[in-house]
């Protein structure tokens, strides 16, 4: 069995065990952070987080063995706890307390303290290359998302979430707590005439501003990039 087949088989078996969402309700999700949120993009996408958590739950520790070089397809389809409007996942981008970015610079350097023996190590290139890592961060205490979701499944999934944003593994965006509140209006895609997430312009009657953005998970996948309305700008959805 190839590596890819192993992961796909494990995924498909695990997928069957996941609960199927039944009732989608509009909700507001508030995350309380205990450390600043590091970002590599102006927005965090909630559907991306949920998809990631589901795949991680299915694969368990194997998730961390996935090869970066291999492309896997993990279709969650009917098990995805978020509703869809046409093809768009009903989940907003992050709403932060502040958008005042700050900078923290870290250096990754090879240290010979634990290296056995003597050997020449190239630090300018290769595996032991030195890195300067610039973290842009936002000192926000809360991160808010809006979604239309199966609240029970969502709450259970979000318990696995340790951190938000970039480099949470080293402590950025550590999630202290979260609250899911059911709300009356669905603000997951459009709220008060403003886009709450990237929306492909083909779904819109009118829009104020557009850019080439990924609009569905995985957000790093270039095939998901399309001309979209920019989150926060005025839009009008096409009639049903």
């Amino acid at each position: 069995m190839s590596e890819r087949e192993y992961f796909v088989e494990k995924f498909l078996k695990g997928l069957e065990k996941l609960p199927t969402p039944k009732d989608f309700k509009p909700c507001k999700i508030t995350f309380f952070l205990s450390s600043p949120l590091s970002l590599t993009h102006p927005w965090v996408h909630f559907d991306g987080i949920v998809g990631y958590l589901q795949v991680r739950r299915i694969l368990g520790e194997d998730f961390f063995l996935l090869s970066k070089k291999t492309r896997y397809s993990f279709p969650l389809h009917e098990k995805f706890p978020l509703a869809y409007y046409k093809d768009i996942p009903c989940a907003s981008v992050s709403i932060l307390e502040s958008t005042q970015y700050k900078l923290e610079v870290m250096y990754k350097r090879f240290e010979d303290r634990w290296a056995g023996g003597k050997k020449k190590i190239y630090r300018g290139s290769g595996l032991f290359r030195d890195f300067m890592i610039q973290h842009l961060y936002v000192p926000t205490r809360t991160v808010i998302f809006y979604a239309r979701a199966d609240l029970e499944i969502l709450e259970d999934l979000l318990k696995d979430l340790i951190g938000l944003g970039d480099n949470w593994r080293i402590g950025w965006g550590a999630v202290r707590d979260f609250v899911i509140e059911e709300i009356k209006e669905d603000w997951s895609i459009v709220a008060n005439g403003r886009a709450m997430r990237p929306i492909p312009i083909r779904f819109l009657k009118s829009y104020e501003d557009s850019a080439l953005l990924a609009w569905k998970p995985p957000y790093w996948d270039l095939s998901n990039v399309e001309e979209c309305a920019v989150p926060g700008t005025r839009v009008e959805l096409k009639d049903e």
Partner: protein
């Protein structure tokens, strides 16, 4: 602005002007290497204030690394100093897109430099500063020329403060991207380099570009 009134700064400006004047006496056909950045901008201003219509050479990194609006801004600034602005680029940027790696290093030296030499250019003014890195300090100290042309470094002893003081006190137009990045990085650290360029991954530039230049992350 106050820094520009200091003797220390004035001396460095005078020193730069002296280097340029001396160089112009010995060179037949000089040019200024203008990247669009703050250092080469100072050099261009200094040289232009001594010799009008100096030749300006600019390397275009292509639309995958420099947004076209910014490229136009750079050219507008250069043309404000001289009518002899020469822009070079490579077809490989279009072919290789964001995977293009150090094309300038190959194409500029292999194709453009011989062409410039053929056209009679015999010296170049560069905006290198010792403060920038140890490799630049060594290169300046030992006069290590990387082209067959004689290189002059008028602002070799300038600090970042000298550069900004000169720009502000002379009211020189600079590329707008500096203000956007400096707001976060600070004017002492801000650099004008290509965006989303794998060559600068090791400096963590992509993280910053991803937030500040998000519109430029995906291009057609």
């Amino acid at each position: 602005m106050n820094y520009s009134q200091l003797e220390e700064h004035k001396k460095r400006v005078e020193e730069a002007q002296a280097i340029i004047k001396k160089a112009l006496q010995t060179c037949r056909k000089p040019y200024v290497a203008f990247s669009g950045g703050k250092d080469s901008l100072c050099v261009l201003h200094l040289v232009s204030s001594i010799q009008r219509d100096v030749f300006v050479v600019h390397w275009d990194y292509g639309r995958y690394f420099i947004p076209r609006e910014l490229h136009e801004e750079i050219l507008e600034i250069a043309r404000g100093f001289s009518s002899n602005v020469m822009v070079f680029t490579s077809d490989r940027y279009e072919k290789e897109k964001r995977d293009a790696y150090n094309i300038w290093g190959k194409e500029f030296f292999e194709k453009v430099v011989p062409k410039l030499a053929e056209e009679g250019f015999d010296c170049v003014f560069l905006g290198l500063r010792k403060e920038e890195s140890s490799s630049r300090r060594i290169r300046i100290k030992n006069n290590i020329y990387i082209t067959p042309m004689k290189e002059f470094y008028p602002i070799a002893n300038w600090t970042w403060l000298d550069v900004w003081a000169y720009i502000v006190s002379n009211n020189i137009r600079y590329v707008s991207i500096y203000d956007r990045y400096a707001e976060i990085l600070g004017y002492n650290k801000v650099r004008f380099v290509t965006f989303f360029d794998p060559q600068f991954d090791k400096y963590g530039s992509e993280n910053v570009d991803g937030v500040l230049m998000w519109r430029f992350r995906n291009i057609k």
